[in-house]
């Protein structure tokens, strides 16, 4: 059995194990769920380490271009190399960087974050988290202001009278579509104005806003259903592929085995309901 066929059998088992939850919670589902959590955590950690921490952090602190055996800084590196030779290879890390001592700050902040696991010093983790939160907040404030506020406001400013536009067209720009955008934006925004009670004329206007919001939620729900069906199709396409002779009918055998075992378990449960 080559690795491709073995992979297909594993994929079939995991897919059907997850689907088996639709029948009820069972050991197959639990195996797949725990495997997924464990493998994902390990995979992400290793990926982050080898794509960022090793090349971009250690690579900037001990680049091979400035390696010198006599320097104190590289003696520390050589010492680390004895402990983890594949992370700190002989002669420095060759990832195209120059030496930047400023990267000692992120290294320190990173170590502080790991200290959250050590109770007496776990307060230090707050500094690392504070830096991340501050940086992300600053970065996002600009992005939201420029794209979500200014860009969107610009997008809703449309001419109500334009001789080049047709009066009605649902797909292409038209007077009707412009009017829908204007009414939807204004009434939708007014719905979130809570300083005045939603009564009388104002109440009727905000009610129109609710209808626009409901249409939007409906569209979101429709898209969500479509997305889930697409994912189901993807899994079924793979299951059909793996049910072929090339993969020794993996889907059929695994499905049969699972149905028999779950059926047997259900039968036993019926016989001894207290177990």
């Amino acid at each position: 059995m080559n690795i491709e066929i073995f992979g297909a059998w594993v994929a079939v088992f995991l897919t059907l194990a997850i689907f088996s939850f639709l029948y009820k919670d069972n050991p197959f589902y639990k195996i797949a769920e725990h495997l997924f959590v464990g493998v994902s955590a390990g995979y992400w950690m290793s990926m982050f380490f080898w794509t960022q921490i090793q090349p971009n952090l250690f690579g900037r602190l001990w680049p091979s271009s400035q390696y010198s055996e006599s320097g104190v800084w590289y003696r520390i590196y050589d010492l680390l190399g004895v402990v983890a030779g594949n992370v700190f290879p002989d002669g420095g890390i060759d990832k195209g960087h120059d030496l930047h001592f400023i990267y000692l700050i992120p290294l320190a902040l990173g170590i502080m974050m790991l200290l959250s696991l050590y109770k007496p010093l776990n307060w230090m983790a707050r500094w690392g988290i504070a830096y991340t939160v501050g940086m992300a907040a600053g970065l996002r404030a600009y992005g939201f202001l420029s794209s979500n506020v200014l860009g969107q406001v610009k997008g809703t400013i449309m001419p109500l009278v334009n001789t080049e536009l047709p009066l009605f067209d649902l797909v292409e720009p038209s007077h009707f579509n412009n009017l829908v955008i204007l009414v939807g934006t204004v009434t939708g925004l007014l719905y979130f104005y809570f300083s005045k009670e939603h009564k009388g004329v104002f109440g009727n206007v905000t009610k129109v806003g609710i209808y626009f919001l409901m249409i939007s939620f409906g569209a979101s729900f429709g898209f969500a259903v479509m997305g889930r069906i697409s994912l189901l199709i993807g899994r079924f396409v793979d299951l059909l592929k793996f049910s072929g002779e090339q993969y020794h009918h993996a889907s059929i055998w695994v499905l049969l085995l699972m149905v028999i075992l779950l059926g047997y378990s259900a039968y036993k449960e019926k016989e001894n309901p207290e177990v």
Binding site: T51, N56, A224, M226, S230, G234
Partner: protein, 283 residues
């Protein structure tokens, strides 16, 4: 009439597992016996196609892969079709990934499309790979790509890759396509890259994200969107190469019809029960 009403009420009380089984069947049968329903490109898909067509041959296109195996059925066909379209028009492809799994998805797509064209790594395409940091990575690519990517996904120094010559920041690219299944993804590219620099971008997203990204398309901040699996199928139809997007559309359409039917029946059952309850209480 009474028989129909009782049947609808009975259907409303059916074990949900029968509904799951029915959905599984209506998805499976059209996959086994396709009915080839017609596929017509919507305006937003056409916009993406036109944006790529408008680029002069040899343009530098940045493709960002922000999806994983869980969303592969929706995004992968888009990325494969987009690569086909770009390679056919002789564009140079630079691939970055904001999701770790995106790198492997990109490798798979390149392997699939690479066979069809005489491509050379480093001259026709380059896989720069994944970098953690979400929007900070986008910001890094915009300000100084060389600082973020000193090596590609294979560990080759970018200074040794011929097609990286002259590529120092986001503005050195002619176009961006983001194949996005969530955050970080298309919205981050709009906010931190496309909007501040004015470089045109298009996107392909999961269905669930469409409503979130659509306002950027409407306002012209994004040039078109491939919306979920139908978007992928429409793009496949436009470039004339059928793939998994097209083959899945029959199943998608039939499943939608059945779900709509369930919703209608569920609502009818709800209203009948409510009116019976009102009568029972003597309203």
């Amino acid at each position: 009439m009474n028989y129909i009403i009782e049947l609808i009420l009975k259907l409303g009380k059916v074990d949900r597992r029968w509904i799951f089984l029915m959905i599984a069947l209506v998805v499976l049968i059209p996959l086994l016996y396709p009915i080839s329903l017609p596929i017509r490109a919507t305006a937003t898909t056409q916009q993406v196609y036109d944006a790529v067509e408008k680029l002069p041959h040899g343009s530098k296109v940045l493709l960002s892969c922000e999806y994983s195996p869980s969303t592969k059925p929706e995004i992968h066909p888009m990325v494969v079709s987009f690569l086909r379209h770009c390679f056919r028009n002789k564009h140079k492809i630079y691939i970055t990934c904001l999701w770790p799994d995106g790198q492997f998805m990109a490798e798979e797509a390149l392997e699939e499309v690479g066979k069809e064209y005489d491509l050379k790594y480093g001259e026709d395409y380059v896989l720069l790979g994944f970098r953690p940091g979400n929007e900070a990575v986008v910001k890094g690519i915009v300000s100084d790509l060389r600082k973020l990517y000193t090596i590609d996904s294979k560990g080759t120094k970018v200074t040794e890759i011929p097609m990286m010559e002259g590529i120092n920041k986001f503005e050195d690219f002619d176009f961006l396509f983001s194949g996005s299944a969530g955050s970080p993804g298309s919205i981050d590219w709009v906010q931190y890259a496309a909007d501040p620099t004015g470089i045109p971008m298009s996107t392909g997203t999961t269905s669930i994200q469409v409503n979130e990204v659509m306002p950027y398309v409407q306002s012209g901040q994004v040039q078109g969107i491939l919306a979920g699996m139908p978007g992928a199928a429409e793009y496949e139809a436009l470039i004339g190469v059928k793939g998994i997007g097209t083959s899945g559309m029959d199943a998608q359409s039939v499943a939608h019809l059945v779900i709509v039917l369930f919703i209608v029946l569920g609502n009818i059952g709800f209203f009948i029960e409510r009116s019976r309850e009102k009568k029972h209480r003597g309203y």
